[in-house]
Every structure is written in structure tokens, then in C-alpha cells.
Subunit: 348 residues, 2 copies
DNA sequence: CTGAAAGCGCTTACAG
DNA sequence: CTGAAAGCGCTTACAG
């Protein structure tokens, strides 16, 4: 007995338990015959406890099916080990390989990725951001989202490391891994011109990045002395149907269009479908190129030319940025351009 | 001064702050001139505080950009207000509308949805489950995943409410909203037979649900006196390319196949692509029907017949199950069959 | 309508 | 290598 007048009261046996879940460090410690801090160390830093102690703790963990409460750990350590990725919608096949690589890379370092869909509208953004910041993630990865000034301010104010991806902006919030959409547009135009195409059109979504591709595309066309390309934009997200309608609209204005750059492979597929329905031969009469090189692009008939981004590499770099920031390492190179590649297939 | 020998020491002014983030209830309370519990009430239960107090707290919150730490709140209240949805992969368009409805319904009740991808392999399942249970979510929604016995046991042991979706099993873990895949297979077979098709094939992924559709499909074929349908299954997830290859393989065995049921609309699209490449007319020589009624199905050429599931309704019901469980309401009807609908379009 | 105290389940110093 | 105490930032009783 120490200097306190009374021993601390034992933990009440009657405390509420939510089902069988509420196994705590205390239960494990008791069974293993050690203190709670030793249980914590055995789990988080096993090399500093003796082999026998480790074994006893592990046996107790197994016996009780103990799963540490990460809210408690995160609260005390100010390290949630949670990373949130924000995407426009959960289904965009474009981001699949990047999200996948991000998940795996973070997992290898002991972090978990959770995905939140922010939608293309800005209305829910504020509430969602609050809910996310409230969880105190160790990092946030933005994938093709968040361009409201208020949202940006809120993120900066939160002090949470932020990695923007799939883009290359002049004013990154924090860290960035992406590529220049302007350059994509420019080079795709050059590529189509190099294949002998002269009367171009651009079809797809009106999101920020597509708009920047448009600018590069139009600039290149001007420089190359081509007729100004027709632009048909619809509200994001653009679909297969958008591609079909887009081609129909574009042909109304100029029946002589000989090449289309779609804002995604899905849109480009829609363009090809509409062309076929109208008896327009691809690529003979109309060249079609997409963006993203997704799952189905290579196996379409004709196979779809497209722009490929190394999503896996992008995901790995984003993970590295987050982990280094969370570990307190100074991330030196905070902006990475991963480039892109034009993939030539039968459709052009 | 009360009976303690010394006043509690003031909160140290030097405590570490992570950036500007570490605004706490204490900071807000100080500025508003109230106690921390009043701040908590103003935020969570505003009707019980006086209008003037409420206004002062709200002003202080705005001034400090305070975002409550949900880890702390969740730890104390044993209510994380977090729901986790587990999907095979983040991109499956099939689940998009359900995830979307789930997100919105939960949000309306003050819960957040986070999506975790479990993959089709079972190798990462255990670690992922531990990471999820560790966050103490108020509910878990399973979407076309989790059939390892160990995983099921672990979930049951956790005591967390679980809703299984997109399926109708004999032994639900807890709650369930789905439909019978066996019935889908049976009725699709009847439908194709009703359209005069006699030599059927099934192409797609080998996941649990597709296998059950197969069983219904084969049973119906037998009952109707049709030749036993050819089955070509590939490892999940099946792609557009799987559909192309599948048709090629099936035709090697029986060149006279006159109808194909794909395990997803993407697979069915691949089947149509391969048919076109081979000069096989759809639907004249070959009827094709898919599963899921996704985004692009209606705008393909020919438009794709398919099986539609009301994903939005499914998502809403799943959200209701979780919220009622979390609020302590006894959920009476714990199993809901939402059925399905065969959508006839040009491809059949 | 408002507040002081206690405690959720961990991990961080600090000590030995 | 191991442990007792303190505290992360909230919310829950309990009291007035």
C-alpha cells in the first residue's frame, strides 16, 4: 500500500458490456498475469518484451478474441492510423488501380484506407468534410475532387496532411501526385493530327480536369493549323449514353468530323457504339480515342486507343507521402508528375 | 474550494497541438463563457440549451473552426456513428446505387459510411476485419462478400450489427436484405425458353451468387426439357474480356448455342462484342442477357436485356436496419427479400 | 437550463 | 524488461 489513504477501487464488475465485444486490455492483462501497459507493448512493439511474456499475452489475446479499441488508442496517441480517400463516386473505374495500390501500400505500413464518396455536387461537401476531419485521419487523399474554396480552406486549417492526385495544379493544398491534363490534351491532338486527322471533336464531362485537357487540345489544334475542334460537354459524370448523344450532336454541326477524343473510355465506347449504329466505320471514317485505359478498353472491337496513367504508381506515391508525413519525416519532394502515355490501338 | 487539499492544476498552456487542429471543447467553452458540457449539449442536443447560450456557443464554434473529435466522443458514448460497408472491389458498378442510397440514408440519421474493399481473395480478410472491428462501427454492411467461416465467427463474436446484402442465404449472420439468386437463374432460363431459345449457355464469374444462379438455371432447363446448358466460369471478378473468351470457348463445344446468360452486364457486353466480331447476329442468332442493369446497359447497341435489382431500396433498408439496431430498437423483420425484375430489351 | 466529477480504453512519459 | 500514474477529448450520469 502506498501513500494514498485508500487503495484504488477495483474495476466494477457490473460495467455494461456491449455483447461480447467489450474485452479490454484489462481482461487480457489479468489472464496473462501482466500489467495493461505490457499488453499494449506486446501488441505494438513486441521486440521490447521478453519472449515468455509475449507468448503469455498472445495466448490471452487469442483466448479472449481481443481486438484493441482503435478509438481509444487513437485518442491517446493522436495517431488514428486511418487514411481517408475522397472520390467523386465509388464506381469510377478510372481510379480503381490507384485506390487498390493505395490500400495495399498503406496496409503494409499499418494504416487503413477508407473511401468516402463526395459526389460531383458541392452541397454535401461541407458536412462530409466535418465528419472526416472529426475522425482525425492521419492523411486525406483527394482523387479528382474538391475544388470549392471553402473546402480547401477547411482542409488547410485542419492541419491534416493532404495529397491531391490525378491533377497538376498551380496551387496544391499540400502534397500532389498527378499529371498535366493540359499536356494530355495537347499531345492527343498532336497524335490525331499525326494520324492524318484534321476535323476533330472533344466529347465528355465538364469537370475541371476535362476542361484543362480541352485547353491543351484547342491550343495544339490552333498551332497545327487545324479547324477549331468542336466541343460537346455534358454535366459530370459522363456516361456511355453521353458518348452516344455527344457524337450525334457533334455530327449535327459538322458531319465531316474525322476524330473524337472522349473524356473517358466509357464515353469513347459510347461514341463507337453510336458510330456503329450509324454505319460510320471506326477507325476508317472516324478515329476514336479515350482516356483512362480501363478494364474493357483493350478488348473492345475495335480495341480502343486511349491515354494511360500509371494508377498503381500514383497510389504508391500518395501512400508514401501520407506515411512520411504521419511519421514526422519531412517530405522533401512534395509534388510529383507521373506523366501519362498514349496507347495506340485499332480505334485510331 | 472544496474538500480536496489542492485545487486541480489548470490545464497546462504548453500542451502540444498538432497544427491548428487541436481546438477542443475547452477552447470553445472558454470563448463562449460556458462549461464544456454545455458546449457538448449545444452541439448534440441544441433544444435543451437556452437560445442565448446556443448562439454564444455557435459563435465560438465558428470563430475557432471547432470540429469535435469523434474518436473521443465515440469512446465515451460507445457510439461511433460509423458504418462500414465491405465490397469485393470499389469499382463494381453493380453496387453503385445501393452504396449511394446507403450513404444518403445513413447521413440523414447522423451516421457516416466508409467503404472498405475486401477483395475476392480471403487472404487479407482477417487483418481487414480486425482493423474494422477495432474502430467499433455501429454497423457493418456486407455486399457480396465474406463467406469464410472464420470471418463469420469473428463478426458474430464482435457483437456489431451486421447486414448482409445482395444475397438470400439460409444462415444469415444477423440481418439480411437481398434476393434469391437461385430464383434469378430459374426465371431467366424460363424467360429465354419462352422466347424460343433452346440451346443455352452460362458465362461468367465463379462467385457464390453466380453459382446459385447457375443451379436455378440448370434446374429450370431440366424441368423444361432443354439440353443441359453449357457453363463457362472464370475466377471472379469477370470482365468484358471474360465475356469474349467465354463465348469463344462455349462455341468451341457447341457451335449451335442460341442464348447466353452473363454473370454481369459487363460480361454480357463482352459476349455481344465477341458475337459481333464473329458475325453472329444478336438477337437473331444469339440472345444475350446480363445481370445488374448498370449504367451503360440500356444504351448499348442492341440494348442489353438484363436482371434489375432495386439497389436504392436495398441500400435504404440496410441503413434502416443499422440505425434501428444502433438506437436499441428491436428490429422485428430482420430478413427482407427485395426481389428482382427481368428487363427485356433488344438483345433478346 | 447549467455544471463538476468521473470515466470510456487505450498509450505516453517517467521510473525502476 | 516491466509497471503505476496521468491524460487524450469527449459524454454520461448525477446534482442543482
Amino acid at each position: 500500500m502506498r501513500s494514498r489513504t485508500a487503495a484504488p477501487p477495483p474495476r466494477p464488475v457490473t460495467r455494461k458490456r456491449r455483447g461480447k465485444q467489450a474485452v479490454t486490455v484489462h481482461d487480457v492483462a489479468k489472464i496473462a498475469g501482466v500489467s495493461i501497459i505490457t499488453v499494449s507493448r506486446a501488441l505494438n512493439n513486441p521486440s521490447v518484451v521478453s519472449p515468455e511474456t509475449l507468448a503469455r499475452v498472445q495466448a490471452a489475446v487469442a483466448k479472449t478474441s481481443y481486438v484493441p479499441n482503435l478509438m481509444a488508442g487513437g485518442l491517446r496517441s493522436a495517431r488514428s492510423r486511418l487514411v481517408v480517400a475522397l472520390v467523386p463516386t465509388i464506381i469510377t473505374p478510372l481510379f480503381a488501380s490507384a485506390i487498390d495500390a493505395l490500400t495495399r501500400s498503406l496496409e503494409a505500413e499499418g494504416y487503413q484506407l477508407m473511401v468516402g464518396q463526395i459526389g460531383y455536387s458541392h452541397s454535401r461537401e461541407d458536412r462530409l468534410l466535418e465528419a472526416i476531419i472529426g475522425r482525425r485521419p492521419d492523411g486525406i487523399v483527394l482523387t479528382g475532387v474538391m475544388h470549392s474554396e471553402q473546402g480547401r480552406k477547411r482542409l488547410i486549417a485542419s492541419g491534416i496532411p493532404v495529397v491531391e492526385t490525378w491533377d497538376f495544379t498551380q496551387t496544391p493544398i499540400d502534397m500532389l501526385v498527378g499529371f498535366s491534363h493540359d499536356a494530355v490534351g495537347y499531345q492527343v491532338c498532336e497524335y490525331l493530327a499525326g494520324r492524318g486527322r484534321k476535323r476533330l471533336a472533344l466529347i465528355g464531362a465538364d469537370d475541371e480536369r476535362a476542361k484543362r485537357r480541352k485547353e491543351g487540345f484547342l491550343r495544339a489544334a490552333k498551332k497545327l493549323g487545324l479547324r477549331e475542334p468542336l466541343v460537346h460537354f455534358v454535366a459530370a459524370p459522363a456516361t456511355h449514353a453521353s458518348g452516344r448523344e455527344g457524337l450525334a450532336e457533334v455530327l449535327k454541326k459538322h458531319a465531316d468530323i474525322d476524330a473524337v477524343f472522349g473524356s473517358s473510355d466509357t464515353v469513347a465506347m459510347g461514341v463507337m457504339t453510336e458510330a456503329r449504329a450509324r454505319g460510320i466505320a471506326v477507325p476508317k471514317s472516324l478515329a476514336v480515342i479515350g482516356f483512362g485505359d480501363v478494364d474493357f478498353s483493350a478488348s473492345l472491337e475495335p480495341a480502343l486507343s486511349t491515354v494511360r496513367i500509371d494508377g498503381a504508381e500514383l497510389g504508391r506515391i500518395a501512400a508514401q507521402f501520407i506515411v512520411e508525413s504521419a511519421e514526422g519525416t519531412r517530405v522533401k519532394k512534395r509534388v510529383v508528375d507521373i506523366g501519362f502515355e498514349i496507347v495506340e490501338r485499332a480505334s485510331t
